[in-house]
C-alpha cells in the first residue's frame, strides 16, 4: 500500500519534471555521467527485487466442498517467493558449502549392507541430479554456466538491437549510424556504459538462475536455508529501512527547518533547541534505549501482537521511526540555513510586499528552492542507513532476529567464526550484497550531488 503510494509519488515527480525544462536540466546532467548511469542500473535491479518481494499475498488453499469460505495458507508469500520457489523450499539439514553436494558435517549413514559409517551425507537438493558427484560436478557446473552465458548473450544482443532501432528513430538517423553513435560513445547519453552494466547484470541473473536451480549457489545456513535466497530477501529489509526512515524524517526536517529559518525569533529558538538536544544524545544509544523500551512494552503487552511476523513488522517500523528521529537534525540544520538565506532574497521580499501569505510563500517560493538540498541529502544518507542496519542488528537493537537481513546474517555467521574449517559463505554473501548496494548508492549520490548542487556548475 505504502509502496504504491511511493511509486505513484515518484511517477508524479517524473511527470512534473518532464513538463518543466529547468527541473529537467540536472537530470540530463545526471544521465550524461557514466558512473551515475551504471550505478543507477544496479540500484534499479536491487529496487526491482525489493518491490517484487513487497507484493505480498497469501496462497488460497483448496476450497473444501462443504465449506464455502475460502481458506488461506498461514504464511504470507511475495511475488518474489513464487519466482524463487525452489530456492525457498529446498531445505537441507544444516550447513553446506557453496556448490557442495555433501553436507558440511559428518553424520552416521546407513550403508546398503546394513552397516553404519560416519561420513558427509549427500545433500537432498544440491546437485542431487548427479550420479557420480566427484567426477561429474565440475563438468556439470561448467555446462550450466555456459548455457547461462549463452542465454545472457542472446538477451543482450536482443536488447542492443532494440536500443539501436529506438535510438535510430529517436534521432532520425539510420540504424547503422545509431550503432556507430553508441559504439563510439558520441551520443550525449553514455549508452556504451549503460549496455555494459545491463549486460553484466543479465549475465549474473542468467548464471544465478540456472545454477541456483541445481546447486546451492552460496551454500546453506545453519538450518539448511539457501544463503543466496536469504541474501536476496534481505534486499527488501535494507531498502525498507532506507526508504521508511527517509519518509519519517522528511516531514520533520522540511517543516521545522524551513519554519525555523523563515519565521526566526522564538520559533527558531525552540526548533534549534529541540534539534541540538536530540543530536547531542549519541545516536546508537538513543536507538538502543528506544528499542529496549519497545521490547519491554511488547513483552508486557503480548496479547497485542499475536504473530511473530506482526512483532517483526512493528519492530522494523519502530526502528525506522527512531532512526528518522535521530537523523532529521542534520537535514533540518541545512534547511534552516538555506531558508535564512532565501528569506532575504528579492523575490521573497517582493512576495511579502504584495501581501502573499506566509504559507503560500513557503510552499511556492521557498520549498522549490530547497528541494535540491533535500534530494542530495536523501541520496547521501541512504547508504549510511543500509550500513547502520548491520551494525544495529549486531548490537542487538536492529531488526527482529526472525527477519532476513544482512545484519542478522553477519551476526549468525560470526558465531561460527571459530569453527574449523570456517563457515565463510554467509559472511561472503552479506558482504558482496551490501558492498554492491552501498557502493552503487555512494557512486549514484556523488553524481546526484554533482548534478544538482548549484555551486558545482
Amino acid at each position: 500500500m505504502l509502496l504504491f503510494l511511493l511509486l505513484a509519488g515518484v511517477a508524479f515527480y517524473a511527470w512534473r519534471v518532464r513538463q518543466r525544462e529547468h527541473l529537467l536540466q540536472p537530470w540530463r546532467r545526471l544521465m550524461r555521467s557514466r558512473s551515475g548511469m551504471a550505478s543507477a542500473v544496479v540500484l534499479l535491479a536491487f529496487v526491482a527485487v525489493g518491490v517484487l518481494d513487497s507484493l505480498h499475498f497469501r496462497l488460497p488453499l483448496e476450497r473444501q466442498a462443504n465449506n464455502a469460505r475460502l481458506h488461506y495458507a498461514p504464511d504470507v508469500l511475495s511475488v518474489f517467493d513464487l519466482l524463487a520457489g525452489p530456492l525457498r523450499k529446498q531445505l537441507e539439514k544444516t550447513y553446506s558449502a557453496p556448490f557442495a553436494v555433501h553436507l558440511f558435517t559428518k553424520e552416521t549413514i546407513e550403508l546398503p549392507g546394513g552397516k553404519q559409517a560416519r561420513d558427509f551425507p549427500r545433500l537432498k537438493y544440491g546437485g542431487a541430479h548427479l550420479r557420480d558427484p566427484g567426477a561429474d560436478r565440475a563438468a556439470d557446473i561448467a555446462v550450466t554456466a555456459a548455457t547461462g552465458a549463452f542465454y545472457a548473450l542472446v538477451l543482450c544482443a536482443v536488447m542492443t538491437a532494440l536500443l539501436v532501432l529506438w535510438l535510430a528513430r529517436r534521432r532520425g538517423v539510420s540504424p547503422g549510424t545509431a550503432w556507430m553513435l553508441i559504439r563510439h560513445g558520441q551520443d550525449e547519453i553514455p549508452w556504451r556504459t549503460l549496455l555494459a552494466a545491463i549486460g553484466l547484470l543479465t549475465l549474473f541473473v542468467c548464471l544465478a538462475a540456472l545454477l541456483s536451480a541445481k546447486y546451492h549457489l552460496l551454500g546453506t545456513d545453519k538450518v539448511g536455508q539457501d544463503v543466496f535466497y536469504l541474501a536476496l530477501k534481505s534486499i527488501r529489509t535494507g531498502l525498507m529501512i532506507g526508504t521508511l526512515t527517509t519518509l519519517v524524517m522528511l516531514p520533520f526536517a522540511l517543516l521545522l527547518g524551513i519554519m525555523a529559518g523563515y519565521f526566526r525569533g522564538w520559533v527558531d529558538d525552540v526548533i534549534q533547541y529541540t534539534y541540538t538536544t536530540l543530536s547531542s544524545i549519541p545516536g546508537v544509544l538513543l536507538i538502543a534505549a528506544a528499542v529496549l523500551i519497545l521490547q519491554v512494552y511488547m513483552d508486557s503487552n503480548q496479547d497485542m501482537f499475536d504473530t511473530v511476523a506482526a512483532r517483526a513488522d512493528i519492530r522494523l517500523l519502530f526502528l525506522c521511526i527512531i532512526l528518522g528521529v535521530t537523523s532529521w537534525t542534520g537535514l533540518c540544520r541545512l534547511l534552516r540555513g538555506e531558508a535564512l538565506k532565501l528569506r532575504e532574497m528579492e523575490f521573497i521580499q517582493a512576495a511579502t510586499a504584495f501581501g502573499v501569505g506566509h504559507f503560500r510563500i513557503i510552499a511556492r517560493h521557498i520549498l522549490p528552492n530547497v528541494m535540491h538540498i533535500v534530494l542530495i541529502s536523501i541520496v547521501l544518507d541512504f547508504s549510511g542507513l543500509v550500513l547502520a542496519e548491520a551494525v544495529l542488528s549486531y548490537v542487538g537493537v536492529g531488526v527482529d532476529p526472525s527477519m532476513q537481513s544482512w545484519g542478522n546474517m553477519i551476526n549468525g555467521a560470526r558465531l561460527e567464526m571459530a569453527r574449523e574449517p570456517m563457515v565463510w559463505w554467509s559472511l561472503l554473501a552479506a558482504f558482496v550484497f551490501m558492498f554492491v548496494l552501498v557502493l552503487s548508492a555512494n557512486l549514484f549520490s556523488d553524481r546526484v550531488r554533482d548534478a544538482f548542487d548549484p555551486r558545482v556548475k
Partner: protein
C-alpha cells in the same frame, strides 16, 4: 574569552536538562518500573510481592515526579525523578540494576576505551591528512581518480567486515596478535595493535575523501594563485600555504569527537573483548540493564556538548579572523 566560555557553558545547561527529561520520559514514563521488574524477574509467575521487592531494592517504588505523602521539601526530592535523574547533573549515576556502582565502573573502564580510541584518532587523522594531501597534489590525474575510487570502495564496506576480516587474517591465519582480550600495563600493547590498525583503516575511506575536498577547496583560493605567481613550487605551496589553512576546518571538525573518545567504540570493543565503556554499554543493552544505559546516554550527551564548546574555542585559537563577541 573566559566570559565567552562561561556563557557557552550556561547555554549548555538547558540542553542537558532537555536530554535528562527525554531519558527520564523514555525510561520511566513510557516504560514503567513494573515492566522493568517483570523483565528482570522473568515474564511468567511473578508475584506482586517480588515486583514490589525488586522495585524497593532499587528505589523505583517512589512516585515519579511528586511525592504527596512526604513532608516539606521531601515532596519534590523523595521521587524517582529527583533521585535518578537530577543526580546525574552531579555525575552521581547511582547503582546499576544488578547493584554495581556505575560511577566506579565508568572510571575503571574508561582507560581501556581511551587506550584504543586515542591512537585510532591521532593516527587516523595523520593518515587521512597524508592521503588527502597526496590526492590533492596529484589532482586531476589517474592517481587522484584511483584514490577517490578506492576511498568510495572503502566507504562502502561495513565496519563489521573490517573487524571480522582483520581478526581472521591477522590473528587466525598469521597468528600475529591474539584474537581478543585485554591486559594491564605494557602487556596491553599486543591486544591494542589490531583494533587500532583496523580502526584507522576503517576510517580512511570517509576521512581521506572529505579532507581531499577541503584541500581542493583551499587550492582554488586567491592566495594560492598569488603563491604560485610569485614562483613557489607546487610542493611548497601545498605544505606552506594550503596545509595550514586546510587544517582549520579539519582540526575544528575533529575537536568535537575528542571528549567522545572516552566512550570508546561499541562494535570494535565487543569484538575484541576489550573491557571498555563500549562493551560495557553493549553488555548493558543485552542484559537490559536500564540504569547503565540511562547513565551512558547522559554521559554521551555531556561529552558531546563539551566537544561542541571545545570546537568553538578551538576556532578562535587557530583562526585569528574569528573574534568572540
Amino acid at each position: 574569552m573566559i566570559q565567552y566560555i562561561i556563557r557557552r557553558i550556561l547555554y549548555a545547561i538547558p540542553i542537558l536538562i532537555g536530554v535528562n527529561l527525554i531519558t527520564f520520559a523514555l525510561f520511566f514514563v513510557v516504560n514503567t518500573p513494573d515492566n522493568m521488574a517483570r523483565i528482570h524477574l522473568g515474564m511468567k509467575h511473578v508475584t506482586p510481592e517480588a515486583v514490589a521487592k525488586w522495585k524497593h531494592e532499587r528505589g523505583y517504588d517512589k512516585p515519579l515526579l511528586w511525592n504527596g505523602q512526604a513532608q516539606g521539601e521531601k515532596k519534590a526530592t523523595d521521587t524517582i525523578f529527583f533521585e535518578k535523574s537530577v543526580g546525574m547533573f552531579a555525575f552521581d549515576f547511582g547503582r546499576s540494576d544488578e547493584g554495581r556502582d556505575i560511577a566506579y565502573d565508568i572510571k575503571t573502564r574508561m582507560w581501556p576505551s581511551l587506550a584504543i580510541a586515542l591512537p585510532v584518532f591521532v593516527i587516523g587523522l595523520a593518515v587521512n591528512v597524508t592521503f588527502a594531501m597526496l590526492m590533492a597534489f596529484f589532482r586531476a590525474t589517474y592517481i587522484d581518480l584511483a584514490g577517490v575510487v578506492l576511498c568510495v570502495a572503502m566507504m562502502s564496506i561495513s565496519g563489521l567486515f573490517y573487524i571480522i576480516g582483520g581478526q581472521y587474517l591477522v590473528s587466525k591465519l598469521l597468528h600475529l596478535t591474539p584474537i581478543s582480550g585485554f591486559d594491564g600495563g605494557f602487556n596491553a600493547l599486543k591486544f591494542i595493535i589490531l583494533p587500532v590498525v583496523i580502526g584507522v583503516i576503517g576510517g580512511i575511506g570517509t576521512g581521506a575523501r572529505w579532507y581531499r575536498t577541503i584541500f581542493l577547496e583551499e587550492t582554488s583560493r586567491d592566495y594560492v594563485r598569488t603563491a604560485r605567481a610569485k614562483g613557489l613550487s607546487e610542493l611548497s605551496v601545498l605544505f606552506g600555504h594550503v596545509l595550514k589553512n586546510a587544517m582549520i576546518p579539519i582540526l575544528t571538525g575533529a575537536v568535537v569527537v575528542i571528549p567522545l573518545l572516552f566512550m570508546g567504540s561499541l562494535i570494535s570493543e565487543s569484538f575484541f573483548g576489550i573491557p571498555g565503556l563500549g562493551s560495557y554499554t553493549i553488555d548493558a543493552i543485552n542484559a537490559q540493564d536500564f540504569a547503565i544505559v540511562r547513565a551512558m546516554v547522559f554521559l554521551g550527551s555531556v561529552l558531546y556538548i563539551v566537544g561542541l564548546i571545545l570546537t568553538d574555542i578551538s576556532y578562535t585559537l587557530v583562526d585569528p579572523r574569528i573574534r568572540l563577541e
